[in-house]
């Protein structure tokens, strides 16, 4: 996290932007008690991520730092913070909301570009190799039923997912 005196301009309505996003509705309830940080398996092994600090930055309006920084990608979605939060802030969901906004603005870590590509081409985020598909019979597993790729593509079109620019990411 940034040290030194805060000189960057803050975005006035970032908190409102987050509360109007799916998943981010509860962020303003946070009163910075730190329970989430102490519950976080990631925060315990690296100082590059601290959920309490991410929320703090967001509520202070430091939009750029939050959305272009690497911190929001380090949440492991274990939901321990959300379980323990005394204000019922949906912290893990808030992180999703922040990620959603970040990706729409072009901050896409490489791995997510790969997931998106898999989904759009095969309806699966982890493609299944032809080799393995053939091997199934050897093990006595039934043939894999075809995935509903067409349906997925239509859904992606309806939500605008297919219009997101997944160019190789700028995230740290």
């Amino acid at each position: 996290m940034a040290k030194g005196t805060q000189k960057k301009a803050s975005t006035k309505d970032f908190a409102k932007e987050i509360t109007s996003s799916l998943g981010g509705e509860t962020i303003t309830l946070c009163y910075q008690c730190g329970t989430c940080a102490a519950s976080c398996p990631v925060a315990k092994v690296t100082d590059k991520y601290n959920p309490r600090e991410v929320i703090r930055l967001a509520l202070l309006g430091l939009r750029d730092e939050v959305l272009t920084g690497g911190a929001i990608w380090l949440c492991s979605s274990c939901y321990n913070c959300q379980e323990r939060c005394p204000q019922k802030v949906e912290i893990a969901d808030v992180i999703y909301a922040l990620r959603n906004i970040a990706i729409r603005e072009g901050n896409v870590p490489n791995i997510y570009a790969e997931f998106a590509a898999g989904l759009m081409s095969e309806g699966r985020i982890v493609p299944i190799s032809k080799f393995l598909e053939k091997k199934r019979a050897e093990y006595g597993l039934p043939q894999l039923k075809p995935a509903g790729v067409e349906a997925v593509r239509k859904i992606l079109s309806a939500t605008g997912f297919d219009k997101i620019q997944f160019k190789k990411g700028e995230a740290q």
Binding site: N80, R136, G148
Partner: protein, 291 residues
């Protein structure tokens, strides 16, 4: 015979056919029919939710609609799929506004989420449809001396307000199911803590540090093996030990085995039929102990 629509997701068919194999064999022995439906897709787990929550909800709902149309409840093997589908199922059943929003999207593929089916993890099927007593009776090869470090992973339990699977602070179901096989589910430090699996591919060093913590704790407690439910956890802890060897220069050699595999073995399935060569840490110590 109780029938369920089997939801496989991506990771299991792509990387861990041994999990699927063990699950099919054990559930068949217990009288549960698994039906494979056409057109199922990715469940829309955290990596997709990170890209867009609305799309993820819609994709999850789409899969549930397939089961609704087939008049079947869904059973998942992967706990990630469980979290994604069960969470979507509950949210859409209980929040009218969200349901309307998602149904608008689903209209594009001719589907409508009705909310009349359940999403279950196979442990729930074992508890409720088979029952602990029947399970115990079906065990032909008790795992009597095996000390198991049970690790259900995060997404079986959390977020508990939506998943409602077990007490998130004092879960008992998984331990009870292990003990039903006559093994011992032992205590170890930070048993409920995340394995870090979802960080693989973005921050491998962080993911490994977290995984290592789990391996160390399980090892220190004297466990013979770690039992998992989630393919990510399996990968992180099994393959992870190879990476720990190269990165930290530490060897633990603690086998990681899916519950479905333990279950199959205890129900009398020959280990040779279980594709156990997918395990990186060899299972010989476990198999020897079981006898």
């Amino acid at each position: 015979m109780t029938s369920y629509a089997l939801f496989l997701g991506c990771t299991i068919p792509a990387r861990q056919p041994h999990y699927e194999l063990a699950a099919r064999k054990s559930l068949a022995k217990l009288g549960i029919e698994l039906i494979d439906l056409d057109d199922m897709t990715c469940c829309a787990p955290p990596p997709l939710q990170s890209i867009d929550l609305e799309t993820s909800l819609a994709i999850a709902a789409y899969n549930i609609c397939l089961a609704e149309e087939a008049d079947l409840n869904i059973v998942t093997l992967c706990t990630g799929c469980f979290e994604s589908l069960a969470m979507a199922n509950t949210l859409l059943k209980e929040k009218e506004e969200l349901r309307e929003r998602v149904n608008k999207i689903l209209a594009n593929v001719g589907k409508e989420f009705k909310g009349n089916k359940e999403v279950r993890h196979y442990l729930q099927v074992l508890m409720n449809d088979v029952g602990l007593n029947n399970l115990k009776k079906s065990v032909v090869k008790p795992l009597s001396k095996l000390k198991v470090a049970a690790f259900s992973g995060c997404h079986l339990l959390r977020p508990s307000t939506l998943l409602r699977f077990d007490d998130p602070e004092r879960p008992k179901i998984f331990d009870n199911l292990i003990e039903a096989l006559d093994a011992k589910s032992i205590w170890y430090r930070n048993k409920l803590k995340c394995c870090g699996g979802l960080l693989r591919g973005y921050a491998d060093d962080v993911a490994l540090a977290i995984a290592r913590d789990k391996i160390v704790n399980a090892s220190r407690s004297g466990a013979d093996c770690i039992s998992t439910l989630c393919p990510f956890c399996f990968l992180t802890l099994d393959l992870g030990q190879m990476l720990i060897k190269t990165t930290y220069k530490e060897e633990y050699n603690i086998p990681v085995i899916h519950y479905a595999e333990l279950l199959s073995i205890s129900l009398g399935v020959d280990p040779k039929e279980l594709a156990l060569d997918f395990h990186k840490v060899k299972l010989d110590p476990v198999l020897n102990k079981i006898g």
